[in-house]
């Protein structure tokens, strides 16, 4: 199982977010995505998840994203800035829904690993930000997908949970999984390779729209 990215360029409304990205992630590997704010880390993860189109080539296991989006997407689970939690449902109902939707009726130890047992029957709107994040990350386990795309997964987690989370990522990789993690902190994944994304140098090109530049007046 390998994720191969070659010469990936993403342009959104005339601004180049990143260009010429090439890298590979192999089975059993956790790769950290580093770079300053605005470097395009989140965009890259969304491109890899097939949610944003980009130029270049993305292959997962030799299957190109452009040719078989569904086949590639069914290998991926994504955790972004939003936790995808319904506040009206309890913690247990939220997680059980994701488990059933992704064809896995079992919760594969997600409840224990993310210490959700104590808040299992609590409505999600009554949970703290860190508890919601734990619930959002617990989804990674129940979806049982090999490639994890994580966008700053440790935001609002306490240090003990960050350590526990690093352990979970390591376990996932030990079982042949892969993780691509955009983060600013030291997760404690010693063996993890790092990919650096350069800062946004291009800036926003001057608009040639006369209305925006004021030339029309």
């Amino acid at each position: 199982m390998t994720l191969t990215v070659s010469d990936l360029t993403c342009t959104r409304s005339t601004r180049t977010i990143f260009s010429g990205m090439s890298f590979a992630v192999h089975a059993g590997e956790a790769v950290l995505l580093r770079g300053p704010n605005g470097a395009g880390k989140s965009t890259l993860l969304r491109v890899l998840a097939g949610m944003i189109p980009a130029e270049g080539r993305i292959d997962l296991n030799g299957q190109a994203l452009a040719d078989g989006r569904d086949a590639v997407q069914e290998q991926i689970t994504y955790a972004g800035h939003l936790d995808a939690i319904k506040p009206q449902l309890t913690v247990g109902e939220n997680l059980a829904f994701w488990a059933r939707l992704f064809d896995g009726d079992t919760l594969v130890g997600a409840k224990e690993k993310f210490a959700l047992a104590d808040i299992w029957d609590r409505p999600a709107h009554a949970c703290s930000a860190g508890q919601k994040r734990r619930l959002g990350l617990a989804r990674l386990l129940v979806t049982k997908r090999p490639l994890w795309l994580l966008d700053e997964p440790t935001v609002s987690l306490d240090t003990a949970t960050v350590t526990q989370f690093a352990k979970i990522v390591t376990e996932h990789c030990a079982q042949g999984g892969m993780a691509l993690i955009a983060t600013h902190i030291d997760l404690g994944l010693d063996s993890a390779r790092e990919i650096h994304m350069p800062a946004d140098q291009t800036g926003t090109p001057p608009s040639n729209d006369p209305f925006l530049s004021g030339d029309w007046a």
């Binding site: 998840a49 949610m51 997407q73 939003l82 009206q88 449902l89 109902e93 059933r100 939707l101 064809d103």
Partner: protein, 221 residues
């Protein structure tokens, strides 16, 4: 199949919990119809004449009321991103969400309509056709609405735009639905209007999931 069932159950549960808005359409329908006799005055013959059209217009607007949250809530909390990665095709997802909208909004209207027909002095022979025409017609309202909701997902306060997009599409359903009931009230042939109403609904059920899924895909990029 279990994935589809899980999604349907979640949609129903969310709609019925506080803030879900399942009662919104029904309450609106009740209020509008209860107010009509006060506004028009107690003229049984006039009320009986306007009853079919009024019931249908109120049901249509009640359906429209909760549509803007159909995909917007999922878009705002990131659920839509995860749903697109799920094993369910986006078309199935749209169909299930529209079905859940009908079950929580359209179906209560169908059940409440005969009672409200009474307050508008609807002629006796039209009651069955009121229920049948609403039961057949309101699914089209939910599914057409799904197209509008998909097109306006990500637009803040998109409710007005949604109404403008969807109302023209509702007109055939309104015409044939109301015509079914008024034809029954006038003891004329109901079937021509009913067949056209059914045709519009079947066409919508087949087309709307594809159109709405395409609109959501456009939005993802």
């Amino acid at each position: 199949m279990s994935a589809a069932f899980a999604l349907l159950m979640r949609e129903l549960r969310l709609a019925l919990r506080s803030g879900g808005g399942a009662g919104l359409g029904l309450a609106f329908f009740l209020i509008v119809i209860m107010l009509i006799p006060f506004g028009i005055g107690p003229a049984p013959a006039l009320l009986a004449k306007i009853a079919p059209g009024t019931l249908w217009i109120a049901a249509l607007l009640a359906c429209l009321l909760s549509l803007d949250r159909l995909f917007q809530a999922d878009f705002e909390d990131g659920t839509l991103d995860i749903l697109t990665l799920s094993p369910l095709p986006l078309e199935a997802l749209v169909a299930i969400k529209a079905l859940a909208h009908w079950l929580t909004t359209g179906l209560p209207l169908v059940i409440a309509a005969p009672v409200l027909g009474l307050t508008l002095n609807l002629p006796d022979q039209a009651y069955w056709w009121l229920v049948i025409s609403l039961a057949v017609g309101t699914p089209a309202l939910s599914f057409l609405g799904a197209i509008g909701a998909a097109l306006t997902v990500g637009i803040r306060r998109g409710g007005l735009l949604l109404s403008l997009l969807v109302l023209p599409l509702y007109i055939p359903t309104l015409i044939f639905g109301a015509r079914c009931v008024s034809a029954a009230a006038e003891n004329t042939a109901v079937l021509p209007a009913f067949q056209l109403l059914s045709g519009v609904t079947l066409f919508t059920l087949a087309l709307a999931p594809i159109a709405a899924a395409a609109a959501i895909r456009m939005h993802m990029r």
